[in-house]
């Protein structure tokens, strides 16, 4: 067992875990944050995307011990006091989901795109989503939603780690 201390969605946790535990497993099984889903389990699909120290990673391809001392934001940490994050709202308003399974990863990666490209072109959005698969193939509205969110204030901020968001 190895002891880790990690901040997840604004709360600090200290746990003794097996070093082989994946970050996504830690989030789901130890912390009960099942909003982050396991899609392909081969690090291709991006459904498990979370932010580590403010940038997107595939949490099935990170060991929980590698998050020691660091800050994780999941889909569950975005809404504040019942208010959806601008990216979540844009997905809702643009009907950017069909079955919804890829949605947590798409939203987390959508936010990451806005960190690099506050006013993204359609091409930048499509390239930024290269590692996120939607097997309903509903990409069109997902791209629309990211573009719409870019117009909202604070859409690139992660509410749990960014001050004032």
């Amino acid at each position: 067992m190895t002891r880790i201390t990690v901040t997840v969605d604004g709360d600090r946790y200290t746990d003794d875990i097996e070093p082989r535990m994946l970050l996504v497993q830690y989030l789901r099984e130890s912390l009960g944050k099942v909003g982050t889903v396991i899609g392909c389990d081969t690090s291709n699909c991006g459904a498990c995307t979370v932010h580590l120290d403010g940038r997107s990673v595939k949490s099935c391809n990170v060991l929980a011990v590698q998050a020691d001392g660091r800050d994780v934001t999941t889909i569950e940490g975005l809404a504040q006091d019942g208010e959806l994050h601008p990216m979540q709202r844009a997905f809702h308003e643009n009907h950017a989901l069909q079955c919804g399974f890829c949605t947590p990863g798409m939203i987390m990666q959508g936010i990451d795109i806005l960190i690099d490209h506050p006013e993204p072109t359609e091409e930048q959005i499509r390239h930024g989503l290269e590692g996120n698969l939607c097997r309903c193939t509903g990409y069109h509205n997902i791209v629309k939603a990211v573009a719409a969110a870019a117009k909202a204030p604070n859409a690139a901020a992660l509410s749990s780690s960014a001050a004032g968001a």
Binding site: D41, L52, K58, N61, V65, Q66, G131
Partner: protein, 283 residues
């Protein structure tokens, strides 16, 4: 899928990491994990011990050192892409890394991990080879430097021994050289079927020097030496470039697989080399 159990060490210095490696005859180094973790999860490998380099600050970062830039082995792709020294002195490396995987993987994956993993379809080897980089390797006997031409030994095999670490990549400055990386894939998010890394130094309209690296044209990254020789000192006419680039596959033995047979790859190498060189000279 979950890896088999292993012992875990997260040293904070290169010296402690080398000691941790020396301590076990079945230890594996963990960098960004973007190649190693899928391997462990599929149980293609089950080392007794993992030595995580993630806490070693001295292995991260990019600095200038005389006529070279030095990139720490643990520097993530994403940090290389935004670094002004890389943009100015090693534009070819930046062009190639832009095509690697996806943003999430570029946030975690490191240049050192990619080079030691040495997948022949990986996009980092060809530019590192074309830029005549040197690889700094630390081991129980101290530090040594290996030229990129001697670093890649075979499929997934490099000059880095089991008890050694790649610590840095030293790239001679190619300031002002034009650069392009042409990667051929059929679908988004695919590994290179073939890719070509080309960088040129112009003298007016003429090509003074050219370096061309090939991805997935053999078991290691390769240099297109016949093309380089034909381009060097040439007038840079469209016809001359087309002829030189037609020689790109000379001396290679590319693989045949579901994505294409060897002849198809040789054809691609010629086409992609022409596109890369034309783009590098600014046409």
């Amino acid at each position: 899928m979950i890896p088999a159990a292993f012992d875990y060490a997260a040293p904070e210095t290169v010296a402690d990491a080398l000691a941790a490696l020396a301590d076990s005859d079945d230890a594996k180094v963990l960098a960004g994990g973007q190649s190693l973790l899928p391997i462990l999860r599929m149980r293609l490998n089950a080392p007794e011990k993992i030595v995580d380099l993630g806490k070693i600050a001295e292995l991260r970062g990019i600095r200038e050192d005389g006529d070279a830039i030095v990139i720490g082995a643990m520097t993530a792709y994403a940090d290389i892409l935004t670094d002004p020294l890389v943009a100015e002195h090693a534009a070819l490396l930046k062009a190639a890394i832009e095509t690697v995987a996806d943003p999430q993987i570029r946030h975690r994956g490191t240049i050192g991990g990619a080079l030691v993993h040495a997948d022949p379809a990986g996009d980092v080897g060809a530019p590192v080879l074309a830029l005549d980089a040197e690889l700094v390797i630390a081991g129980p006997g101290g530090e040594r430097t290996v030229a990129a031409a001697d670093f890649f030994e075979d499929l997934f095999t490099t000059a880095v021994g089991e008890d050694e670490l790649l610590t840095a990549i030293r790239i001679p400055k190619h300031t002002g050289w034009g650069a392009a990386y042409e990667k051929f894939v059929r679908v988004a998010h695919q590994w290179s079927i073939v890719a070509v890394a080309a960088t040129v130094r112009m003298d007016g309209d003429a090509i003074a020097e050219a370096r061309v690296g090939l991805t997935n044209m053999g078991s290691t990254p390769l240099r297109a030496t016949a093309t380089e020789a034909a381009l060097a000192g040439s007038a840079g006419t469209a016809q001359g470039i087309a002829h030189a680039c037609g020689l790109a596959a000379e001396g290679t033995s590319p693989p045949s697989d579901l994505n294409g047979d060897a002849d198809y790859r040789r054809h691609l190498a010629g086409v992609l080399t022409r596109r890369a060189v034309l783009s590098a000279v600014g046409r």
